[in-house]
Amino acid sequence: MTDSTKDRGTMTLESELSSVDPVEAKAEQLAREAGFDDDTSSQVAMVVREAVINAILHGNKRHPAKQVQVRFELSDEALRIRIADQGEGLDPDSVPDPLAPENILRSSGRGIFLMRAIMDEVHFHQLNPGTEIELIKYRAKKELQA
């Protein structure tokens, strides 16, 4: 974390799908504030939505005693969003490649792929218990210093 990083809030959510919309709205608002265009802001918000839905459905399995925590950070360099569940953990490498011919007609399994396609970096951190997904979108590519 650099000195310029500003904590832009934490949302603690119940494991219910009704929790998703406010997170998505905040992600879109922060993406616009970061200077991303309308389409990019919408895509960033969409993948945050994907991550939160995954946390609720596949992480916490909608367990009423488990929560999802979403932390937003904005620095001069990047918008960073961390989504943590309290589930049993996720091995992202176990998710089948949705582009493979044998998977292309599957009706699910594209959420993590979209996160990786749209964000600049996606990291999975194993918690005890749970998984944290860290989504990073850089505001602008920095010029390399000579």
Binding site: D39, Q43, R49, I53, P98, L99, L105, R110, F113, L114
Partner: protein, 114 residues
């Protein structure tokens, strides 16, 4: 805005006009129900007009795939019409654009059915 859906028939082809969002729990089930209903009624030439769909997520993409396979398995054909840039981008990223027959013109879409 959640999804809205209306159907009409043009030269024996059913056009399903969709608008709003196709996401988990919003438009997905509505679309699935409509496709099932059309297939049960023997309507197997289906065009999904997505011109007013301004938002889709991975669940929505999954619903489009489910609709495609349901129609194909019933011996029919499903095409997509008028993709917005947001929907097109996601179909390209996920390579689903290689699966669907995508048209930009309704008359051409209707004429493309055998």
């Amino acid at each position: 805005m959640s999804m809205k859906l209306t159907t009409r028939e043009v030269s024996g082809v059913t056009i399903v006009d969709l608008s709003g969002k196709i996401t988990l729990g919003e438009g997905g089930l509505t679309l699935r129900d409509e496709v099932r209903k059309l297939l049960a009624a023997g309507q197997k030439k289906i065009v999904l007009n997505l011109g007013e769909v301004n938002y889709i997520d991975s669940s929505g993409l999954g619903e489009l795939v489910s609709a495609y396979t349901a129609v194909k398995n019933a011996g029919g054909e499903l095409k997509l019409l008028n993709l917005t840039s947001k929907v097109r981008d996601l179909l390209v990223i996920t390579k689903l654009v290689t699966v669907f027959d995508v048209k930009d013109d309704e008359a051409a879409a209707v004429a493309a059915f055998a």
